[in-house]
């Protein structure tokens, strides 16, 4: 046979430029707002503190970054943002949301590091620095496996629109072919 045995499509035709969430494996972990909350729920002091510190380190690198406080607060709420240690190329300030909690990495999810969590303006749900929702359960819970990955470092984008100028040339339905 010279053709595919089957052609399965996961998400075609479900709307444009939105990646449909697939059924993803969940892993055991735990979420806390503070070290105190962590120890209060029976975890060791050492484990709670180590994960918190890891989360804080990752927070500085991976938290979403903004060049205006207003933009940051629009996403995370009034007085929920702080000045990041980074600077823009022109020396301006960079803003990022306050860490609202952390997700335990070690022990529970196979050796991962603790990572920071944030809450969007008006939301009770936690999100990772890569904007993956992980629910609002304090303590032991399950989250999608992908949410436990170390979030990407985020420096501030200084400009956009540097690609695509050729795409606006006329007389072309599509640039393939």
């Amino acid at each position: 046979m010279k053709r595919s045995k089957s052609v399965k499509l996961v998400a075609m035709g479900t709307g444009l430029l939105l990646v449909a969430a697939c059924e993803e494996a969940k892993v055991d972990t735990a979420l806390f707002e503070s070290v105190k909350q962590c120890t209060g729920l029976g975890f060791s002091e050492q484990e709670c503190a180590a994960n918190y510190q890891q989360a804080q380190q990752t927070h500085v690198a991976a938290a979403p970054k903004y060049t205006s406080q207003a933009d940051c607060e629009a996403d995370f709420g009034a007085e929920k943002c702080e000045i990041a240690p980074q600077r823009t190329t022109t020396g301006g300030s960079v803003f990022m949301p306050l860490m609202a909690g952390y997700l335990m990495g070690s022990m529970l999810s196979g050796g991962g590091r603790g990572q920071p969590l944030y809450r969007g303006a008006g939301s009770t749900n936690f999100r990772t620095a890569d904007n993956k929702a992980v629910g609002n359960t304090i303590g032991r819970t399950q989250v999608a496996q992908s949410a436990t990955k170390t979030p990407a470092a985020k420096t501030r984008t200084t400009s956009r629109g540097g690609f695509g100028k050729n795409a606006r040339s006329p007389m072309r339905r599509s640039f393939g072919g």
Binding site: S4, V7, F163, R173, F175, G177
Partner: protein, 386 residues
């Protein structure tokens, strides 16, 4: 090879919509056309199309090797000097290629002749790999075509497999331009294949890509882009404002930079120069090469970077007979021996032969009522049947 009229499925439009195939009709003109199909024998497919495709791919690799050892070749191809090292590194680091489509003129008897190689941003992918396949399955089921018919089309399986083997750890970004429904469909389909290959994907418009303080490219959520499938030609990436950031961006591109050598009509004269007389190649020369006199006034002149037939000119006995408008050509031209597409009752099919990870894996046919396969050519399905 025969052109056979067939009854379209009564519900083909609904089926297309249900499968996310939204560009079946473009500007009120039919693009997907199942009122006919082409029938091939297995010998024709395997000996006349599949084997030559695999063979030419290997010849192309020799052209890449040569271009990277001879800067004058890169210059003739119009690749900006600032990217010579980048292109060379992408080849030496064996950055993996995903796909491409060779276009052939083939009449069922004489050797297929390579018109060009769309090695960087080939389109018609979804309709080839998915909708053509669905048509075959349903057409057999409904008795519209002979039972036991097959199709040269393992494109979907090959793509899914190739993504799984791409060695990508982390997120794959996929980009196309805004306001191009057909390209959005292609990118969406590609993302689907990549997810089935086990990757995590994010879609972004090429215009929305940002550059950050570290010289890394970013998406709209400030994630750095590490792996980028781009349905946007290399020559445009290189010419764009952000092009200069590419070499230090740390991005693994699909297709890789070395495809800039193959997705260029300059490939055709280079192939001819190195493999003159190959049965599947047409004589071709860079414009202005005195050797082009061998074409004896019968040739087609094509810009190095033309797409969808734009700016192509036909010459017969030295006189220009057909000229297609467009805005390509500033970068130079090639000339290729005139070899008309086969005539099936006033219809001229061009056969696109797909490669995934450099292996032939299917064909698609686009049929036009003129000798130049332009962007109003119709896509028609095919079967293999003895």
């Amino acid at each position: 090879m025969d052109r056979i009229p067939v009854e379209p499925r009564v519900d083909w439009r609904e089926t297309a919509e249900a499968h996310g195939f939204r560009f079946h009709t473009i500007d009120d003109e039919r693009y997907w056309d199942e009122s006919l199909y082409y029938r091939f024998t297995l010998d024709q497919i395997e000996n006349d199309l599949e084997d030559p495709t695999a063979e030419i791919e290997q010849l192309c690799f020799q052209v890449v090797e040569r271009a990277l050892s001879d800067e004058s070749v890169l210059k003739r191809l119009g690749i900006p000097e600032a990217f010579w090292d980048y292109v060379a590194d992408s080849w030496r680091n064996q950055e993996r290629n995903l796909y491409g489509r060779m276009d052939f003129a083939y009449d069922g008897t004489a050797p297929a002749k390579l018109f060009e190689y769309n090695a960087d941003t080939p389109t018609s992918l979804y309709e080839s790999g998915v909708f053509q396949w669905v048509w075959l399955e349903q057409a057999i089921e409904r008795g519209l075509i002979p039972e036991g018919s097959d199709q040269f089309n393992s494109l979907h399986e090959a793509l899914t497999q190739a993504w799984a083997n791409m060695g990508i750890d982390g997120t794959l970004h996929l980009a196309c331009c805004k306001d191009t429904e057909e390209d959005e469909g292609t990118v969406e389909y590609m993302a689907d294949c990549a997810r089935q290959g086990g990757l995590e994907t994010r879609l972004i418009y090429i215009e929305d890509i940002g550059i950050n303080t570290d010289g890394r490219f970013t998406d709209l959520q400030e994630n750095t882009i590490d792996h980028l499938f781009k349905l946007y030609p290399w020559e445009w990436l290189m010419a764009d404002d952000f092009g200069r950031h590419i070499p230090k961006s740390g991005v693994r591109f699909v297709e890789p930079g070395w495809k800039a050598i193959l997705s260029n009509k300059g490939l055709l004269p280079l192939l001819w120069e190195m493999f003159e007389g190959h049965p599947n190649l047409l004589p071709a020369y860079f414009d202005g090469d005195p050797a082009a006199a061998a074409l004896d006034g019968d040739f087609v002149r094509k810009p190095l970077f033309s797409r969808e037939g734009a700016n192509v000119e036909f010459f017969q006995d030295g006189e220009r007979t057909i000229s297609v408008e467009g805005d390509y050509g500033a970068e130079g031209h090639i000339v290729q021996a005139l070899h008309p597409l086969p005539d099936f009752g006033g219809n001229y099919p061009m056969i696109g032969s797909w490669l995934v990870a450099s292996q032939p894996c299917g064909i698609c046919i686009r049929e036009d009522a003129s000798l130049v396969t332009g962007d109003n050519a119709r896509f028609v399905p095919h079967i293999i049947s003895e």
